[in-house]
Subunit: 197 residues, 2 copies
């Protein structure tokens, strides 16, 4: 039939195209500046198909949010297997942040810069997501066993992560021009010095 011939073989391919295109556009222009017609043009998927698969713009954004976070969570779990002590665990986490920042800047920018709460109703801030709660827990353990030192483990966790993320931010903004992988050692050095005993 005619309709049959026009139908794409795999609908999931379109879904995927919309998800990746929309995330890129959200990162580049911000959620509110990205219109559905814009996503239609760049993804080459029609308005009707988008609304069919995602319902509305906010649900599309929510799906991108969920998938990005669980992808990151998965990478973290992979990197953590076999890291026994607190210090090498924190190093693995920091290295993951830097690696992602370099190999997939779009993902990192998405997690760093988008105020998801601004357009996703009742979405937990990124810092309360599993990976970042894991850091808080790890640092609490490190303080307990004497590897780390802090009067206030939450402040310690914030300092550790903040030191790394801020460096990544400044790299993105062109203030720090060296490629991030050449900076991995000073980055981890400063971040760990903020918390270790």
């Amino acid at each position: 039939m005619e309709a049959q011939r026009l139908r794409k073989i795999d609908p999931q391919e379109k879904v995927r195209a919309v998800l990746t295109t929309a995330r890129r556009l959200f990162v580049e222009h911000g959620y509110h500046s990205v219109s559905i017609p814009m996503i239609v043009r760049e993804s080459r998927v029609s308005t009707g198909a988008i609304y069919h698969h995602f319902g509305n713009k906010e649900q599309l954004a929510r799906r991108i949010y969920d998938e990005t976070l669980s992808e990151f969570q998965e990478m973290l779990e992979q990197r953590l297997t076999g890291q026994a002590d607190v210090l090498s665990q924190l190093r693995a986490f920091g290295k993951l942040l830097v690696d992602v920042a370099q190999s997939d800047p779009e993902m990192m920018r998405y997690m760093l810069f988008l105020n998801h709460g601004e357009f996703l109703s009742s979405c937990p801030p990124i810092c309360s997501s599993a990976p970042f709660r894991w850091v808080q827990e790890t640092i609490r353990n490190g303080v307990a066993d004497g590897t780390l030192r802090s009067d206030h483990p939450f402040v310690a966790a914030a300092s550790f992560i903040g030191a790394i993320l801020r460096t990544i931010e400044l790299n993105y903004q062109g203030v720090i021009i060296e490629p991030l992988d050449t900076l991995i050692s000073p980055i981890l050095d400063h971040a760990l010095r903020a918390v270790r005993a």
Copy 2:
């Protein structure tokens, strides 16, 4: 005359009302979610008056950006007078951030969370503004005179500021619940440990 009677005594009062109202709304909802009619309602200044004084929405945003940054810069200069050595200068800077975060959260949120580049064409990122360039310079000096230690002063500066700002962020997001002024000592402690010799 009738027109005379209806005219407010001080036009600058209206300008001020628009500036403070708009900044509050930008912080609460994000630039793109704030409409002119919304500003009109909340500031009780008419559409016509707003366009008369500011030209358009972007110029209004730019004026808020400029005034906020120079206000912060002024506060910093005040706090720095009389701080001789690098360590007490950095402490003064950190304490300023924490003080502002607590006494004027709207100003801090404005500087921290708004992606100004997203709606202000060719606006320098906050991190390149005078106060933050000052930190970079100060840390370079500290490394030179041996007070601080770093292979890469830019990374050191990013770590120092990042440690503090991230803690403030987590406080705003309810992860760290203690009032910030009770945390000033662990905050400065962690941030300085990241960079000192």
